[in-house]
Structures are given as C-alpha cells and as structure tokens.
C-alpha cells in the first residue's frame, strides 16, 4: 500500500508528523483567522496600522450590520443564490442525462461526442470572454441579468460534469439496466428509478464542487454583469471598498459572509457521500 499508514512508520517519522500537522493546519488557517480578526476591527485600528495585533475594540455587530447597510449586500447574496442554485441544478440535470446516454447507449458518434466534452475542458475560459459577452449582448439578450450567468455557468460546467458522470455511470453493470428493460420498464423510468439513485453519491460530490466553483466565480460576474440588480456577491464585495479609504474591515466581513453558503452546503451534503452504494448489486 502506498502511502504507508502513519502507524506503521518509524517513531521519528511519527513524531515529526504529529508535530508538523498542527503547524501546517495553523499556517493554513492563519489568513482566514486574520480576515476574521480584521472583520471585527474598527477603522481607527486599521488607520493606525494595527493589522496583526489584537483589535482595540470588537466591532462585530457594527461592521457586519454596516456590510448590509453600506451596500446592497442582501441583494448580492440573493443574486448569488439564484445564479448558483439554477446553474448547479441545470448542470447536474444535463450532465447526468448526457453522461448516462454516453455511458450506456451505443449510437453512432458516441465517442466523438464524448471527446468533444473532454476537449471542451481544456479550453482556457479567458479566451471565451469576448465571444460570450458578444453572444449575450447581440444574440441571446441576457446581458446584465442573472440569467446570463446561469446560462453561461450551466453551459461551461456541463462539460466537466458530463465527463465525470459518464465515467461514473460507465462502471455501473449493464445487466442492471438490461434486467429493468426485460421487466418492461421504460427508459425514462429506468433512468429515474435505477440509475439516479445509484449515482447519488457522485451527484452529491459534484453538487458541492460545482456550488463552490459557481458561487466563487468572479471573472464572469465582471464580464457579464454591470448593474447592482444582477451582481453576485463576489463582484459585489467591491462596493464595500469605501470611497477614499479601503474599508478592509467591511470587505473582510463581507468576504466571510460570502463564504458561508459553500461551507454550509458542504456539511449539508456530506451525509450523501455514501460510498459503495452499488455493493452487492452484482458479483464482485
């Protein structure tokens, strides 16, 4: 087995490991901790250059309220929620169906189509900036609405997700589907009652991943949206910059608020990561 289980290594390695682990975790969390501290500082603290020391006063309530009063933060959050939920749902539905078709149906051009899905993942998204913007302005008039982002994220993320789902479903034994087919179950019902329940762990993993990707997107929020009405929270944070002085305490507070949903989703979906659901379906 590689890597060797830590219990089986030498004493020295074990000790080093046990000492290094907390340090690594601390280093990892340090920036987050600094942001958290900054989010409760007063502006005077920052002006005085107290970036790393203990805050002179704890302005928790004041700062976090100000985030919502100084900018349309609630609106940004709502936009983000709409964009992310619709885009994740669209992506999962499309990729699950496409993945199933690519994995289990033999049709002409199957492999070519699958290759296109894979190739799409290698396109650096920056080169799509101008064309996508043009499309959204001239052809599909969604520019500067949340739906522009929903549509784009759905289209772009479906490539990766289809690759993922196709490979996952490919491992499912054909006999399961054939057994259902002989029993006279229609193709749609097979998809719904046999395939979907079995890909749930994969769907849950993808949902968390995609939620984080789409929620955290900054680039496309800048490219496809101009007005506050459609702006998601990542791009919205800049409204907290302050006019003359950078209000780091507010930006920090806003960032933490913006980071809550992905974290929540992770813990929420965790119980769906049930491995080995297909165990016992067929002979090993």
């Amino acid at each position: 087995m590689f890597p060797t289980a830590i219990e089986k290594t030498s004493k020295l390695t074990q000790t080093t490991y046990k000492a290094a682990l907390p340090i690594a975790v601390l280093l990892w969390l340090l920036p987050l901790f600094a942001v958290a501290l900054t989010s409760v500082r007063s502006i005077e603290d920052l002006n005085r250059g107290n970036f790393w020391g203990w805050p002179t006063s704890l302005n928790f309530v004041q700062n976090y309220t100000e985030v919502f009063t100084r900018s349309p933060m609630a609106l940004f959050m709502l936009n983000s929620v709409i964009i992310t939920l619709f885009a994740v749902a669209g992506t999962l539905i499309l990729s699950c169906m496409a993945g199933y078709a690519l994995a289990k149906y033999h049709f002409r051009g199957n492999l070519v189509l699958f290759s296109i899905f894979i190739a799409g993942n290698f396109v650096p998204f920056q080169i799509l900036m101008i064309p996508v913007r043009t499309i959204m302005i001239d052809w599909i008039p969604l520019y500067d609405t949340v739906w522009a982002l929903v549509l784009f994220h759905t289209a772009f993320q479906t490539g990766f997700c289809t690759l993922f789902m196709r490979n996952f479903i490919k491992q499912m034994p054909d006999a399961l589907i054939e057994a259902a087919r002989i029993e006279g179950i229609t193709e749609l019902k097979i998809f719904w009652h046999v395939v979907l329940p079995l890909v749930r762990p994969a769907l849950a993993a993808l949902a968390v991943l995609e939620f984080t990707f789409i929620w955290n997107d900054y680039f496309w929020s800048l490219v496809l949206v101009q007005s506050d009405e459609a702006r998601p929270v990542t791009a919205g944070l800049q409204a907290l910059k302050g006019q003359w002085l950078a209000s780091w305490q507010l930006i920090s507070a806003g960032s933490l608020i913006a980071a809550i949903p992905p974290v929540l989703i992770f813990f929420l979906m965790q119980r769906h990561f049930i491995a080995g659901l297909t165990l016992g379906a067929t002979k090993e």
């Binding site: 006999a175 057994a179 087919r181 002989i182 006279g184 229609t186 079995l198 016992g280 379906a281 067929t282």
Partner: protein
Amino acid sequence: MAEVSLQNVRKSFGAVDVIKGVDLQVNDGEFCVFVGPSGCGKSTLLRMIAGLEEISSGELKIGGKDMTKVPPSNRGVAMVFQSYALYPHMSVEENIGFGLKMAKVPKADIEARVAYASKMLQLDTLRQRKPGQLSGGQRQRVAIGRAIVREPGVFLFDEPLSNLDAALRVQMRTELSQLHQDLKSTMIYVTHDQIEAMTMADKIVVLSAGLIEQVGSPLELYHRPKNLFVAQFIGSPKMNVVPAKVAAVSGDIAHVSVDGGSMLALPLRGGKVSVGDVVSLGIRPEHMSVSSEGVMQATVKLAERLGSETMLHLSGPGGAAIIVRSDGLASEKPGDVVALTMPAGCCHLFDAAGIAIVNGALI
C-alpha cells in the same frame, strides 16, 4: 403455451459472425440447456431470445408469435443474469416487486405475488434486506424471484450458478429443477457445467463456434453423439479416442485394427465403411476395463483415487492418452503395464471428418 422456435437465426457484430444460422425448437414446458466452449455464442443466443441483442437475420417465434423485432418487455420472457443484477438500493421485496409496481399492478396483487415468490424461494425472513446484506445463494434466489412474479412464458438463465460455491451449486441445482416442475414453464439455461446440463435438461443443445452441433436428451448426447466434438464435449472425463484403421469388412461387421493393438470386430448396424479407411475409435472411460487379456497394452501414468472410483491415466500405443474409470480400490499403480478391454457394444466409430459412423449399442 410458450414454445420457442428459431429459424436460421444469425448474429454478427460488425464483420464478425457470432451466430451462424441456428434452427432450434424448444417445446412448451421444456428445460433446455445450452452448452458449448467459451465464446461459442451461448450468451449471445440467449440474449437474442431475450431481445437484448438484435437478431441480424432469421426468425424468432415465442408461443407461435413472431418476436424477431419485438422489444424485450413484450416477449413474455424473464431473464436471470449470471451477475444477478439486483437493484442495490432496493430491498428484497422491492427488487421482486419493482417490475410489477412500474407496470401499475394493484398493490394488493403485488403483495400477493411477492409473498408467493418469497415463500417459494425461502426468502420470507429476508424481505426487508438490501442485496448487499445477502449471501450469494440468497441473491440468486432474489433474482429468480424477480423472474417468477412476472409469470413469464419463458425463463432465461445465463450461467446462474457459476458464482456459487460447489455445495450451494448442488443445492440450487435441485431447487431449480424443483422450480421447473412446480411452474411447468419453458426454461432455457446456459451453462458451462456438465453436471448441470446432464441433470437438469430435458434437452441439451451443444453449440460450437456459432453453430448447433447436436440437439438431444442428455442420455442421447452421451450415448449417441453425432460427431467427435459432441462425443468429447459431453462427459467427464472425456471419451477416449484412439486412431484405428478398417482392416476388413464382412457383412455388417467391420474388423478394425487399433494402432499398436489387436483386431476388434464391430457391428456396423447400417454404418458404411470401406477397407483401408482411417477412423477414430471412441469409448468412454467407464466402458473400458483392465484385465489380463485385452485389445491393447497401456502403461499406467497416474492413478487418481477419488474414493468411490479410481481414474487410471494411461499411455496407450503410440503415446495415446487413455483414461479408464476403475474401482475405488483398484490395485494398479503408476508404471504398471496393463491390458485394456473394449466391449464392442460400447465402441463408437468416427470417420476422418469426425462424423459418427456407428454409435455404441447401449441405447
């Protein structure tokens, strides 16, 4: 009434011909077993009957109706897969009743049928379990239960017992035979296993390279094989085959000289040979015996003592490998030179092309 008939059925995957023209009639209520070497097309033929593989050409009828192009669900067949193919997220009773539920059969009806099947297969106490919590034999029973509740005209089995251990296989074999007697449905069963084929079948179909070699009852195939392939495929250990030559023909008796041995007088019973023909002489291990004077001499290479019997592996004239089934307490040991008898009524003669000229006179 669900007889199955195939007429000149063919299947090719691209340029590869896998089934090369099969004609077969399986009668209603018959237990028909497909056997043949690996890759000969048994599964493919079964899947064509099920409707999982398209029939490239030819005609398939089930219960007298043309089913060549009918989708699997409308053929009135149920299939049990080698891998069981149970739905892992459903309990035993959900697995069994799933097809009925999807077909919108009334709840009470489903419950009754599931109860009947689980009782028949001794699954009553396991109905709430998931497939992952069952043993191999129990999973296999669930798969069979799923087939039973649909009350199909034809059951199709693709090596259903091959993943079970020997003891369980014996038990399931008798259970399946019992099931066939109870249900009286047509069953088509693919197997690798000699014993399964011999014990369960009303009719055995021997396939080789996409063609039927012979169809018949187990004893018919065992005692009256049409060719060398069937003769050597059915039976374990294999039929012994030694090269021989026709030395003389007098009326209905052929005098055959075994290479390196003496002369053997075989009744032809209608078979045609002429003097000088090169033939193969076949005889089953249990029909040969060791005695003081026999047709040929052979050296014992190995004595497999199975308790109830001893398999003597011998090297005959010209090094021909011969197996003799002998008594459990046979005294021969490796190195002994013995004489072998070959009763004329047990001998088969095959011509140079491997086609049977004469089969033994046992049945």
